[in-house]
């Protein structure tokens, strides 16, 4: 059975993807909590996944799904390292407020 997809043009998915990406960017800019900033970055990655998978559906191939699979891998890797950094940081200075980390500046 063929599935028809006439109802939703690709652009809607791309729009959703772009919107989520921008929300992620806003989160990075606005929040001071390192962990929330980090979560916002995850939103950005997820937004890209939507694009990849929508393109796949449109192009009738699986490369994008492989790509998004790899993105998940990378996200997992980044999360583990990133949270480890935050934990190491927290040991020396018990805060996750990004504005308090500015020993180094010109």
């Amino acid at each position: 059975m063929d599935i028809s997809f006439d109802a939703i043009p690709l652009a809607h998915y791309l729009l959703l993807s772009a919107t989520l990406f921008v929300i992620g960017v806003m989160g990075v800019l606005m929040r001071r909590n390192a962990i929330v900033v980090f979560m916002s970055i995850e939103i950005m990655l997820n937004a890209v996944n939507i694009s990849l998978i929508s393109f796949d559906r449109y192009l009738n191939q699986h490369d994008g799904q492989i790509f998004s699979f790899m993105v998940m891998c990378v996200a997992a890797a980044e999360v583990s390292v990133g949270l480890a950094i935050i934990i190491a940081l927290f040991r020396n200075k018990p805060t996750v407020n990004l504005d308090e980390f500015n020993i180094m500046k010109s």
Binding site: M1, D2, I3, S4, F5, D6, A7, I8, L10, A11, Y13, L14, L15, L16, A18, L20, V22, I23, M30, R31, R32, N33, I35, V36, F38, M39, S40, E42, I43, N46, N49, I53, D56, R57, Y58, N60, H62, D63, Q65, I66, S68, F69, M70, M72, C73, V74, A75, A76, A77, E78, V79, S80, L83, A84, I86, I87, A88, F90, V96, N97
Partner: protein, 168 residues
């Protein structure tokens, strides 16, 4: 039919994404993020990407978010982050991100009107199944798959090096 599913799901995703950004409590943010990811999984299903949808739930909503929650709990973070502490700067930021949004949306709408991407391809029923994705993963994309293992190894080493408690 798809429209009926897509728009509510998309709306929920956007709302939860905003929830991540505007929630004062990190735990609330994390919960919103999980909800958003589940919503995205729904959208993936809608696009026939069953395998990825499942991975989305298992890896993201499952593993990654659990790690987040774990760290938030471990560090015992409270909602100490006033989002709008510095008004003037944030206004500027908002204006700029607004510009960014305008730029991106403008671009996307332009594409839409160009009509290049109007009709999606007709795909087989097997599209996006584990078998299909797995086949291509182990043939055409076998190298990235293997390299991903190095990546995860590195991440593991890194996490251990940075977070282990013994101080030397």
């Amino acid at each position: 039919m798809e429209l009926l599913i897509f728009y509510p799901l998309a709306g929920l995703c956007v709302i939860f994404a905003l929830g991540v950004v505007f929630n004062k409590n990190p735990i609330g943010s994390a919960m919103s993020l999980i909800a958003m990811m589940l919503g995205l999984a729904g959208i993936f299903v809608l696009q026939q990407a069953h395998f990825i949808a499942i991975l989305q739930i298992i890896i993201y909503a499952g593993a990654i978010m659990v790690l987040f929650m774990f760290v938030i709990m471990l560090l015992n973070l409270k909602g100490d982050d006033a989002v709008w502490k510095k008004r003037e700067k944030n206004t500027l930021l908002t204006v700029l991100t607004g510009l960014l949004i305008a730029g991106v949306l403008y671009k996307v709408l332009e594409i839409t009107s160009a009509g290049e991407f109007d009709s999606p391809a007709h795909v087989l029923e097997t599209f996006g199944t584990v078998r299909e994705v797995g086949t291509i993963l182990f043939t055409e994309f076998v190298l990235p798959f293997e390299v991903a293992s190095i990546l995860l190894l590195v991440a593991m080493i890194g996490a251990v090096v940075l977070a282990k408690s013994k101080v030397d």
